[in-house]
Each structure stands twice: as structure tokens, then as C-alpha cells.
Symmetry: C2
Subunit: 207 residues, 2 copies
DNA sequence: TCGATTTGTGAACACCGTTCACTAACTTTG
DNA sequence: CAAAGTTAGTGAACGGTGTTCACAAATCGA
């Protein structure tokens, strides 16, 4: 029964094609400008066809989000070559911020937009948002390693990881959502870098 | 010429009525469910009438945002009664988070939604987003006071203020955008509190 | 070859933000 | 007081949105 397999393959190929087209449109034009109709047009199918592969727009966004987390995880992997725990943690933060600046649309999808999380809710899983959890676990792991090495003194690795996540996420989110317009354009980037440096410094010596 | 004054008064009254209705609808139903048509219906006018008072939806959101910053500033004022700089800073963070949890829609308006910032851009002011800047300046002020008192050791109050802002904002934003679903519901709040405590602790002694 | 199943679609539904010609009411002027 | 001018307010439309569904076409298994 090679036919069924071929059909299966063709189906996932089309699904992949939809995601690829959507991805391309989103980072060419941003989320607000792209509609289901646009995506359909890009793959030369009718809008209704997309609904044969995704129950709704949120599910499509969710699928793209999962892909994106693959990329972020990959970026995270490289930090484990760094020896010193403090430097390693610093690198995790740097990767997070670099990802936000290099792929702002993916970052929005992963950490800001409501759409994909509505799909997560709709699924009603017992352990929801596995891709997000997996990425966070990497940060927890780095914290735990630092604690085991006696470099970080804190009670709980997960709590500390949440704190670090919040710090870098806050910076990225405020920037991407244009809340840093209060700073003159030329100072903006250095100010952000300084803020991160300061955070890294106080992690070691306090303020 | 009392007539002109009356007209003026009526006009601002109607503007105020629109804002009040929009405010009410937004925090009853959330931003995604409320349209210009809904708002018009609530004040018993035609949708087109709203455009006599606001050039577009973004300007309406911007007006609400400014009102909201009034509330946040008021919340910030109360921290200046606290003597010790570290405790005072802690209180600022607490007020920010409390505001986010008590008025999630206002928080979105102020710090997450794109709409109001598009209005800010459209205005093209030399010193944009004055209401945001004013709120941030309060944080800078608290940092500066701590530096002057010799309690905080850092080069630049503005940089430090941005770091603190990012920390609390990140936590609030991740929560409101449902990114903390990776934690079991009953642990969520305590985890956030612990993360904040940890941040406050490392500000003093390092990690 | 014929019936069954899959694949794809056009047209519609109920919304959205926004614009504009037009009416109706009010104010000012002669 | 009447006529002219000004303003407030609106109905209807435009071009979009996500989504559904009866229907057509193509492919498949018997």
C-alpha cells in the first residue's frame, strides 16, 4: 500500500508548504499585515484549503511557534561548551536577546502574541506548551549547574531561572513593543547593553 | 459668548463619555472583543461619531493609555514615604506588578499593545511618549536617591532603572501573555513572588 | 466501469476600521 | 423674524478579516 504513504507524504508536504509560506509572509510583512487569504494566495490555493490542514489560524501560529522553538533551542545548545557557569548563564541571556533582535517576528510568536497560546489552551493538555517548557528547562539546567558548582547561591534553580528569563524577556519585549522610544535612538542599544551588563554584574556582587 | 464655552464643554464631555465607555468595555471584555461599533453602541451614537473626537482607534487607545499612566503615577507617589532606598525600590517593583495584576487591560494598553504606540509615532513629537517617560523618571529618581545615599553602587541611575523595569515588566508580561502555563497553576503565584524576592535579594548581596 | 472517498473551492456569513455624502439642528446675520 | 451659514450626527458603503459549508472534481478501490 504505497499509495497511502504517498498521500500521507503529500499531505505533510502541503502542510509544510503552508507553514513555509506563512513564515515567509510574516517576516516579510509582520503579523498584522498577513491574513489567511494572503497565505492562501501565496501557495496558490483557496483560503478554505488551509482549514483542511489547520483547524484555525491559532493552530497555524502554534505550529510556527513550535518550529521557532526548535531554532531557539539550537541557539541555546551552543552555550553548553562554555566552562564557567556565570559566563554560560550570561551566554544564555545573550542568545535570547540576539534571537529577539534577529527574528523579531518569531520572538513575538513565541513570547508575546496571544494567538498561539489560545491554541495551547484549546488543546487542554495536562502538560501544556511543551516546546516552551523545553526551552525554559535549558535555563533551569544552567542555573542548576551553577548551583552544583557552588557558583550560584540560591534555594531553587527554577525560581532563579524565572528571574533571569524575566530580566532578558522584559528588555526584549519593551524594545520590540517600542516602549524604549523614551530614549534617544542612538542611546537605545548601548543603554540596553549596559542594563544587561549591570544585571550580570549584580548577579555576582550585588548592587 | 457663553454658547461657545458650552459647546466646548459639551464636546469634551462627549469625548470623556467615549473614553469612559471604551474603558468599561475593555476591562469587561478585553481588547480583542471590543470594536469601534461596540463602543459607539455603548454611548448610543453612530460609529462615525467617534471619528469626530478621535482621528482613529489608535488615538483613542492612546488617550486611554495616558489616563492609565495617571493612575500608575499615583501608585508610584506613595513609595516616596518609605525611608530606606532599597525598600523604596522594592515598593516600586511591587506597585508595578500589583498594577499589572489588578488592571491587566490597562497594563496591556500601557506596555504591550502596539496600537497606542503607533499613535505616538504618528504624532512625530520630538520627545515622544511623555506619560511613559514621566513614569520611568520616577524609577530613575528612586535609583538616584539610592546612589546618593550610598546604598546602590552603580555608574548610571538610568541604566539601573531600565534593568529594574525590565525585570518586573518581564515577569508581568510573561504572566499576562500566558507564558507561565508551564508552571502548575497553584505554584505560579508563589514562583513569581519568589523570583521577585530573589531579585531584591541579589540587588543587595549578589547571587 | 461504477460507486465511494478524498481534495479543493466559491460563495456566503458576520464581523472589522474607516470614509463620505448627506440630513437635521442650531447659530449668526441682515 | 427669516434667511444663510455652520456644526453635529449618521446610513450606507468600501475593502478588508476569519471561518463555514454545500457543492464540484478528481482520485481510488472493487
Amino acid at each position: 500500500m504505497g499509495i497511502i504513504e504517498r498521500k500521507e507524504r503529500e499531505k505533510t508536504e502541503r502542510r509544510q508548504a503552508i507553514l513555509a509560506a506563512a513564515q515567509r509572509l510574516f517576516n516579510e510583512q509582520g503579523f498584522e499585515k498577513v491574513s489567511m487569504r494572503n497565505i492562501a494566495e501565496a501557495i496558490e490555493y483557496s483560503p478554505a484549503t488551509i482549514y483542511l490542514h489547520f483547524t484555525d489560524k491559532n493552530e497555524l501560529l502554534f505550529a510556527l511557534q513550535n518550529q521557532a522553538f526548535g531554532q531557539l533551542r539550537q541557539a541555546f545548545e551552543s552555550v553548553f561548551t562554555i566552562e564557567h557557569p556565570a559566563e554560560r548563564l550570561q551566554a544564555v541571556g545573550h542568545k535570547y536577546l540576539a534571537f529577539a533582535f534577529e527574528h523579531p517576528e518569531l520572538f513575538e510568536l513565541m513570547f508575546i502574541l496571544n494567538g498561539p497560546m489560545e491554541a495551547v489552551e484549546a488543546r487542554g493538555e495536562a502538560a501544556p506548551w511543551a516546546s516552551g517548557r523545553a526551552a525554559f528547562d535549558r535555563v533551569v539546567q544552567v542555573m542548576q549547574q551553577g548551583m552544583d558548582a557552588g557558583v550560584f547561591q540560591c534555594a531553587d534553580a527554577e525560581t532563579a531561572a524565572l528571574m533571569v528569563w524575566s530580566q532578558v524577556h522584559g528588555l526584549a519585549a519593551l524594545f520590540l513593543r517600542k516602549r524604549l522610544v523614551i530614549f534617544p535612538e542612538e542611546r537605545r542599544q548601548t543603554l540596553m547593553e549596559e542594563a544587561m551588563k549591570l544585571f550580570n554584574r549584580i548577579l555576582q556582587h550585588g548592587l
